[in-house]
Amino acid sequence: MSEQMPESFEGGVPLSAPEAPIAPAIDESDLIVETRGLVKRYGKLTAVNDLSLSVPRGAIYGFVGPNGAGKTSTMRILTTLMLPTAGQAYVAGYEVTKQPRAVRRVIGYMPDYFGVYDDMKVWEYLDFFAACYEIPESSRPRMIADLLDLVDLSHRRDDMVDKLSRGMKQRLCLARTLVHDPQVLILDEPASGLDPRARVEIRELMVELARMGKTIFFSSHILADVAEICTHIGIVEAGRMVMQGSMESIRRQLSPHREAIVTLLDRLEDAKSALSGVQGVLAVTVLPDEGGRKRLRVTFDGEDALLSAMVQTLAAQGIPVLNFSEQAQDLESVFMKVTKGIVS
């Protein structure tokens, strides 16, 4: 991810540790978004059912679930647009139904549609929302320039909004959520309806924003997006939280062991016995050939040093290794494991 990061953002915001895609330390007990027993009913339909979520400050929290799982309803409650039927929701310590104005000050909300005024220029659009957030006029031009720079739209500053492509509109909307420098961004399906390139751009921007210290709470049903950039994840189905926590803890919960795939030119059996001898390796299985290459799956339990030890063992015996990589637990399979497919 980090190689693809745009280096253009120098607008006064310090870039911390460029190689680390995610804000350094996240205190799991410092919650910036929290709901307790949240319930939302529309007549007989229960959209959100006793949902409790915890988003630590600085996290990129992926709120994942199939369509109709209650993601948008939860977000509308958190953004003060809708009242819950029961339960409490807090953003930055403010109760959303009691202190909506305080909540609005700390959140930036992007719904799952653009919400743009077609008869405005790009800079006017941002200026209008900055004015709605009571940003003093004197600081707006500089702020707008910085934001357009961040979302790479500086060259379209004076164009009419309706002349922008979908991806550009989405980036403009993301810039809009930032005009008042909020602590939390609540983004509803930020990547939906975008082409692959625009999707990557939005994802990179989200990582960039997390580095700037923003907490990002976003929903998605596209698991690949979530897996790549999230620090935390909450899986929701039929209005209930099925599983939530840091990516690591979720991976560990679902599969207690780590896995590595070794691709070899030759000497499959030698490699198998060599790896089996390394302490901490639990199992070595032969995988079917892929394009004529021989492959092994190594299941192990231990720290990264163990991975290094395995590579050294193979090298010491002169085994021709083509590729050695740790297999991240596929989130798709995680998702299939925890959800029951009640809603789809």
């Binding site: 647009l81 009242l83 609005r104 919400g115 743009v116 005024y117 709605c132 957030y133 809009r176």
Partner: protein, 311 residues
């Protein structure tokens, strides 16, 4: 571009309301707003010419010589058509103001900002009305042509403008209210125009029928009717004038011509018990007070509607 931004930074007063600035920018951008204004003025000029030709032709036929008659016909005609236009234009500008935000899916975005509900509502109302006022003010010189013929006083021009303005504000507020109360612009438009038609066409028809009935009653044996009933009828008439701009304008002019007053005057009532003087307020005052009060109530209700969090 640079000048526009410099202006944006210098501006003060009501331009501090972001909604007003945004709406006016959108409305006055490009040639459309000016084209509409030009077409409107051309139509008004055409109408004035038509009135003039008709008025002078009828003079030839009937042998009148009074220039004042032509002036009066022109003035009344232009005010009448303006009232008609305002009735349709003012709600058209506001009925889509809030429902349009919903349809454009920007309503939620505005609601998550710190923009207070009253700023949104007032901003929408003022920006829509300011364009209608531009149309009204642009037509003032046309009304004033009547001065060339005489028969019309400055006071009448001012009063006509007041009645037109009040009508604009109240009908604009009506449109805005339904715009907030309904989800769709179409439904907001239908409701707004139904109410507007009821006020501008339905009510005057009813009132004129009532007036005709009363005057035939009063005219025949006025002196036989008890004083109390006569006073009641007179005040009833005044109250009715407060429901409709056309009736208010008509009665204001009637009393202005008969009593030479546009403010407070006395109407003489004759009955079997003697002659008494009844104090009356000119209808335009009653009309303006009632209409502005309605507008205020509608604006407050609109603000409440906008402030409400979805359940």
């Amino acid at each position: 571009m640079i000048e526009a931004e410099a202006f944006a930074r210098r501006r003060g007063g009501w331009f501090k309301n972001p909604v007003i600035l945004k709406e006016l920018r959108g409305r006055m951008r490009g040639a459309r707003a000016f084209a509409v204004l030009s077409v409107y003025l051309l139509l008004m000029v055409g109408f004035a010419l038509l009135l003039y030709v008709l008025a002078s032709a009828s003079q030839d036929v009937f042998g009148f010589t009074s220039g004042g008659q032509i002036g009066r016909t022109l003035f009344t005609g232009i005010i009448g058509i303006q009232l008609f236009l305002v009735t349709f234009i003012a709600p058209a500008f506001t009925a889509s103001a809030i429902s349009g935000e919903r349809e454009r899916q920007t309503y939620d975005l505005l609601k998550t900002t710190l923009l207070p509900a009253h700023s949104l509502v007032i901003g929408k109302l003022l920006s829509a009305l300011s364009y209608v006022f531009l149309l009204l003010i642009a037509a003032v010189p046309l009304q004033s042509i009547a001065f060339l013929f005489g028969g019309v006083t400055e006071l009448e021009v001012v009063l006509a403008f007041v009645i037109l303005s009040v009508t604009t504000i109240t009908l604009g507020s009506t449109g805005l209210y339904f715009s907030a109360a309904r989800t769709r612009t179409l439904s907001a438009n239908v409701t707004t125009y139904s109410v507007t038609l009821l006020i501008t066409v339905g009510l005057p028809m009813l009132i004129f029928i009532l007036i005709a009935l009363f005057s035939s009653l009063l005219g025949a044996r006025q002196a036989d009717i008890a004083v109390e009933v006569q006073v009641l009828l007179l005040y009833g008439l005044l109250a009715l004038s407060a429901t409709n701009p056309l009736v208010a304008a008509f009665l204001t002019q009637y009393w202005l011509l008969n009593k030479q007053s546009a403010f407070v005057f006395y109407e003489t009532i004759t009955s079997t018990t003697g002659i008494i003087q009844v104090p009356l307020i000119s209808p335009w005052i009653v009309f303006s007070a009632v209409y502005l009060l309605i507008a205020l109530i509608l604006v407050i209700r609109t603000v409440r509607r906008v402030r409400r969090i979805e359940n």
